[in-house]
């Protein structure tokens, strides 16, 4: 930490090489799949090692303890993680909360929370979704009412990624009823060890429990943990969604799914079969074009251009493409389709059912594909609202 090298002084290739070597030497998990989540102690250890050796927080300015990389080096940083097929660690504190803290937080709030994020002693999760507010976020019901120096939280969050593995949660709650549903919402931070919080894992079609329901029964939170002004949570939360969306166009998942498809066909020895050729050709060009689009959008963003709407479109295309590739891979399995788990004895090196199911929520979470198309139609294509 103290001996942080000045990565920005390296040229791009040297930086890439240094980071690649470091990953090889320090990534110890057997999980080599961008769809897998790195959780628990391995995730903390991985992020803490980054912090120890000065590889933590590529985008964060150096004065806040980050690497303060140029945009191009940030992209290289990400590319090398993808190249090594590193599983995603739980790092919402850095990816989602930190930009909000820096933009809306007080100096005290930053001083209190940023160090814990960087040294991974405090792991954060995100409390946005509620049972009745999925695509329609303004419909949220969870209440917070003032009581002296505290906000008292009551209600439920759901689809909270890895809540059971986290220490803190940032969330949106309704603190007053206004005519406009977007008003009266507050962005607040809560310690998950607070009395009155109960966490229950949600089992999914992908046979995991990476998501949770979080129940709040009169949970008292000091008002100093409100970010921005009470009632301004919609703006704070929207900004956060903006930061999040930026990373959604990456072709990482596409490449992974395409690799699964090719490895499956190789193991099944059907490389010469006509149906495989058709599927391969279509998906290969889809992946190539989506990757090209992504690189150009990053380039635009690096030059300060606004590529927000394009990222939304690319995200939508990628999500549906991963699903199509997963469907094609399952079809290749023929008679052996529908097995749970990898099945080398059938010539199936990958768990195709898992890939099929894990790709389903890509068109649901963060706004369904339908809602995303509505938004693109009215925003980018200037079509009239329905």
């Amino acid at each position: 930490m103290n001996s942080t090298p000045n990565h920005n002084s390296l040229d791009d290739d040297a930086f890439r090489h240094a980071w690649r070597s470091w990953i090889q030497a320090n990534y110890h998990s057997p999980l080599r799949d961008p769809l897998e989540r790195l959780t628990g102690q391995p995730a903390r250890a991985w992020l803490q090692a980054q912090h120890r050796d000065g590889w933590r927080a590529p985008a964060l300015p150096a004065e806040h303890g980050g690497m303060g990389l140029s945009l191009r080096k940030q992209l290289i940083y990400q590319e090398e993680l993808e190249r090594f097929s590193v599983a995603r660690p739980m790092d919402m504190g850095l990816r989602l909360l930190t930009p909000v803290l820096l933009r809306y937080g007080t100096k005290e709030q930053i001083a209190r929370f940023l160090p814990g994020i960087l040294n991974t002693t405090e792991v954060w999760c995100q409390g946005y979704s509620e049972p009745g507010a999925g695509s329609d976020l303004a419909n949220l019901k969870m209440r917070g009412h003032e009581q002296g120096e505290h906000l008292i939280l009551n209600g439920q969050k759901t689809w909270t990624t890895m809540a059971s593995d986290s220490d803190w949660i940032f969330l949106l709650v309704r603190t007053s009823q206004e005519a406009k549903r977007q008003q009266g919402i507050t962005f607040v931070l809560a310690d998950l060890r607070s009395p009155g919080i109960e966490i229950r894992p949600i089992r999914t079609l992908a046979r995991d429990e990476n998501f949770c329901e979080v129940f709040f029964d009169s949970v008292a939170v000091p008002k100093c943990q409100i970010i921005g002004q009470a009632g301004d949570g919609w703006a704070v939360g929207k900004a956060l969604l903006g930061f999040e969306r930026f990373s959604h166009g990456s072709p990482e998942l596409l490449r992974h799914a395409f690799k699964v498809l090719r490895q499956t066909a190789s193991a099944l020895q059907i490389l010469e079969q006509p149906h495989y050729h058709q599927v391969l050709a279509q998906h290969a060009c889809d992946v190539a074009d989506a990757s090209a689009w992504y690189e150009q959008l990053c380039e635009t963003a690096m030059q300060g251009g606004d590529a927000h709407e394009d990222f939304s479109m690319l995200k939508l295309f990628n999500a549906e493409l991963v699903q199509r590739i997963a469907e094609s891979a399952t079809e290749l399995a023929a008679d052996a389709g529908g097995l749970l788990g990898a099945a080398p004895q059938w010539g199936l090196p990958h768990d195709l059912e898992w890939l099929y199911m894990i790709s389903r929520p890509l068109t649901i979470f963060g706004g369904t594909a339908q809602v995303q198309r509505n938004l693109i139609a009215t925003r980018s294509l200037a079509l009239p609202r329905s």
Binding site: G134, L205, A206, A334, D335, L340, E353, M357, R360
Partner: protein, 416 residues
Amino acid sequence: MAMAGCCQAKAPLFWVLQQRFKSMALHTADNEQADTLALLGDTAHAFLVQEQRKDRLRSIDTGRAALDANFWRQLAAQGWLLLRWPEAQGGSGLGVEAACAIAEQLGRHLVPEPVVANAMMPAVFAQLFERHANAAIWQTLANGYADGSATLALAWQPPPVGQAPMQATRSAQGFVLQGSVGGMVALALAQQLMLVAQLDAEPALFLLNTAAITPNLQTQTTSDGSTLSVLNLAGFVAPAHALLAHGPAVQHATAQARQEGCLMTAAQLLGNGEAALELTLAYLRTREQFGRPIGSFQAMQHAAVDVRIQLNLARASLQAALAKQALGESDQAQAAMTAAAKARAGDAAIQAGRFGVQAHGAMGFTAECDIGLYLKAALRLNAFLGNAREQRSHYVACMGLTEPLAPDATAHEVST
């Protein structure tokens, strides 16, 4: 009848229907048959609504099969396991239409037990070989199906990639078996295995005890709550009496069993897809977002209509295939339409399940919500006996559609 004792009390209606079918065969009244099939389906539905708990499929969330020997005995008590079995051995001897009526309900209610694979399909062998030398064996097997106490699995599919097919050679002790075979379903419920191996360059049918070959199995849970196994034998010795049949008749029986299995699986997929769509439509009518039911959004409506159309096509295709079977049309025509029906049903059910999961939003991704169970079962049923793509290729081959077509051919010469 061997099974009458235990079953009549529990499922009287089934036996009434069975009698109606038999009397109908005399005057082939189409409408009456349709009514009776509907009644058979209704009866099965009523039983399964009561007795089949979808909840138990949640075991697949942790990778475990949901197969239940007790439920298998309940299905036996309904008379379903012997539905296609010859009457001489206490079976009901009903037609494939009746089997499809039951299979549709099995699909609708997500029954993981292998009624089609391990009871209906073995019945084809029983029909074709019942007057064979070792008739007593078939009677013993029938007795096991009567109360669900003993069941066969079939092992006749090609070996998985890179493995040698199953070969039998004669030896002093009987036969030596060597090679691999895939596709065995729900072995945990099967005490015996009917295995097809090449003997003297012709297919031969062997009966083996599953206990004896357990160490040679690799078994995996499937997304419908059942299991699929690969058997690898390296010099396994089967006694001489294990050989049930040999020669072209085995080939024929295998093909026939496969064809009936395809029809019934198509029916099962159809039931699956219908139930998935119903569940989804109910959700679309009630769940609100942005202040209105999500079923009022055009995108949801149009996708639902497309699923409805595919399911209707699947039903029409299955009925056409059954009609060709009933009318005794050429083997090729039967096989072609059967393939088309299995293909359509597979695609339609998967489409229904996929749309269902999407339409249910985040809720659809929870293991708790039933809709995912339909999609998972549809994936497996589509794969069983050849998936939609393979079936379509089979249709083309059976119809000879890759033959050149002269420029002056009329449209009616092009397709049935």
